[in-house]
């Protein structure tokens, strides 16, 4: 259906409030992060002065002993959970897409069911168990429960991706004289890699977003960024941590937003292909 110029412009006009609604809170966090402490509570949306003091406070200042380790923990925990999940899910999704075996549907249904578990329901028993066996407040103590978030998601999304791959091309390459290894490396890997990569991105975001496990199963050593944010305090006890929290929020948000900007199309495909009839 071709749009008339009038329709074209009215749709463009409607898109402006939609984009504003999305961007206002984002710019607001940035605005709070660059407002110096003295005008932090001036109730103005736009900053009248710029300063890096909030960023200094959290990266080298008094709040750095809270933020820097949390950033490292977040990256380490999320990377480990993502790698484990995606590697396991790759084998699993490959089997589901290419092989005939009973229980395929069961695996997919269970992974879907598991991804809607109320996270807090896993926390109580794990809190008790982790304290007894010494996993409380450790990196593995977070990675293991994170698998319950990341593994079903990777299986589900990757299976959807793999089912769209024209696997016959592998045989076609072999018929054309390629060795098995060449066929795998030159044909299958390029076909499967985008799906695996996108799944890893989506999986990483999910782990990166976790708050419930992080505040419940850690106290100080393994605390991740979302949990640390909730426990920030100001430069002195008389100051609100608003600026510090906002600066930290900006730091952890920027890389993720950049990834979304670059891989927008793939992420959309990954998020929707598992959920909608293909």
């Amino acid at each position: 259906m071709d749009a008339t110029p009038k329709q074209k412009w009215s749709l463009a006009a409607v898109s402006i409030p939609v984009m504003l609604w999305t961007l206002i809170p984002l710019f607001w966090i940035f605005s709070l992060a660059v407002k110096p402490q003295s005008i932090q509570a001036d109730n103005k949306y736009f900053p009248r002065e710029f300063s890096w003091e909030n960023f200094q406070l959290i990266t080298t200042g008094t709040a750095s002993n809270l933020f820097n380790p949390a950033l490292v923990n977040s990256i380490v925990v999320c990377l480990i959970a993502t790698v484990i999940s995606v590697v396991l899910a790759t084998f699993c999704a490959y089997a589901i897409a290419r092989l005939n075996f009973p229980g395929k549907k069961l695996i997919l249904l269970v992974s879907l069911a598991v991804s809607f578990f109320p996270v807090i329901s896993l926390v109580t028993p794990l809190f008790d168990l982790w304290r007894n066996i010494g996993l409380f407040d450790t990196i593995p103590g977070l990675v293991i429960p994170y698998l319950s978030l990341t593994l079903p998601l990777s299986i589900w999304v990757l299976s959807a991706f793999f089912q769209q791959i024209p696997w016959e091309m592998e045989q076609a390459a072999q018929v054309d004289g390629a060795t098995s290894w060449q066929a795998f490396r030159r044909v299958i890997v390029p076909l499967a890699a985008p799906g695996v990569f996108t799944t890893a991105l989506i999986t990483f975001f999910t782990a990166w977003n976790d708050f419930v496990f992080a505040i419940s199963l850690t106290s100080e050593n393994a605390r991740t960024v979302p949990a640390a944010l909730a426990f920030f305090t100001g430069a002195s006890q008389f100051e609100q941590p608003t600026g510090a929290i906002s600066a930290a929020a900006v730091i952890v948000t920027i890389p993720v937003v950049i990834l979304v900007l670059i891989f927008q199309k793939r992420i959309v495909a990954g998020l929707t292909s598992g959920a909608v009839k293909g």
């Binding site: 807090i120 329901s121 926390v123």
Partner: protein, 316 residues
């Protein structure tokens, strides 16, 4: 999303073959060898804690006093079901779920329609709309918390200007139940609408545009086309999106924890379970609450799948 190489027909035929060939048997074995580890680990990290929670919920068990641990069978549950705190949390959770999913469905659909039709800033719009999805929920919660708080926020000032001074610029959004719930829901809606609209956009994209064109030629108005052609044809996508978001909204925790910590009766089921477990270290009671929450989510999923015939397996 176009071609699926292994059609269900060929698969079914293979399964009904009376005797398996060696090759088929080897394939089954290999299938489980590859899929097994992921499946087993997934079950181990979820089923085990849930079963443990069921077991612990039968005890009076406080972490500070482990020796007094005592088997009391269903007493924790009878405490829960007679306590007004639980019903307040249940009501809040249901309220948030119903309102946010309803608003997101309308808003998400409008945005999906816009993304589907738009010509001009097409790519830009799609990218910007996706951004909240990637923002950590806690960050979204803080952004909205600071927007509405009287000491830092701009919202009161803007409302005051928009109403020519009629709006009280010192209005305390977190001082009473309804406004606090409102802000919590705004943050939730902002963060999760992109996911909803993406699922709906995928549904929209699959509607045969010729059908809509035909309705238009026959003189159907926009609303007639919307309710008679578009919506009925994307019912499956709508139901899946609503199911996903409902189950997700029902476990709301982050926004409530950051904004109110349950003050002014804004407790939800998840924050209540958290408080029992982590703040009060009442493992028995916390487990019972976890089990109740789990069963509620399970029931919602069943109602959707049985009652509304959401065909999840069919999406494969």
């Amino acid at each position: 999303m176009s071609t699926v190489t292994d059609t269900p027909q060929t698969r079914r035929r293979d399964q009904h073959r009376p005797k398996l060939s060696d090759r088929a048997r080897a394939e089954r074995k290999l299938g489980w060898k590859l899929a097994g580890p992921a499946f087993v680990i997934m079950l181990a990290v979820t089923a085990y804690p849930i079963l443990q929670a069921v077991w612990l919920s039968f005890f009076r068990y406080r972490l500070t006093d482990p020796d007094a641990r005592e088997f009391i069978f269903l007493s924790n549950y009878s405490v829960i079901f007679t306590d007004s705190l639980f019903y307040q949390a249940l009501w809040n959770t249901v309220f948030i779920t119903v309102v946010t999913v309803a608003v997101e469905l309308v808003l998400g659909f409008a945005i999906a329609m816009l993304m589907h039709r738009i010509v001009l800033p097409r790519r830009t719009l799609r990218t910007i709309v996706l951004i909240p999805y990637s923002i950590i929920t806690v960050v979204s919660a803080f952004a909205w918390l600071y927007s509405f708080r009287t000491d830092t926020g701009y919202v009161n000032g803007w409302l005051n200007t928009l109403t020519f001074g009629a709006w009280d610029a010192t209005f305390d959004w977190f001082g009473s139940w309804l406004p606090a719930m409102g802000v919590i829901m705004i943050s939730e809606i902002w963060k999760t609408t992109p996911f909803m609209s993406l699922l709906l956009l995928a549904g929209l994209a699959q509607i045969d545009s010729a059908m809509e064109e035909a309705a238009k030629v026959d003189g159907a108005t926009f609303w007639q086309r919307l309710f008679r052609v578009i919506l009925p044809n994307m019912k499956a996508a709508i139901m899946v999106a609503v199911l996903f978001r409902t189950l997700d909204a029902f476990r709301i925790f982050d926004n409530v924890f950051v904004m109110t910590r349950g003050a002014n009766n804004t407790e939800t089921l998840s924050t209540l379970a958290y408080k029992q477990t982590i703040d009060r270290v009442e493992i028995g009671m916390g487990s019972a609450l976890s089990v109740v929450l789990f069963l509620l989510v399970f029931a919602i999923a069943l109602i959707f799948i049985r009652g509304f015939k959401v065909d999840l397996a069919g999406s494969k």
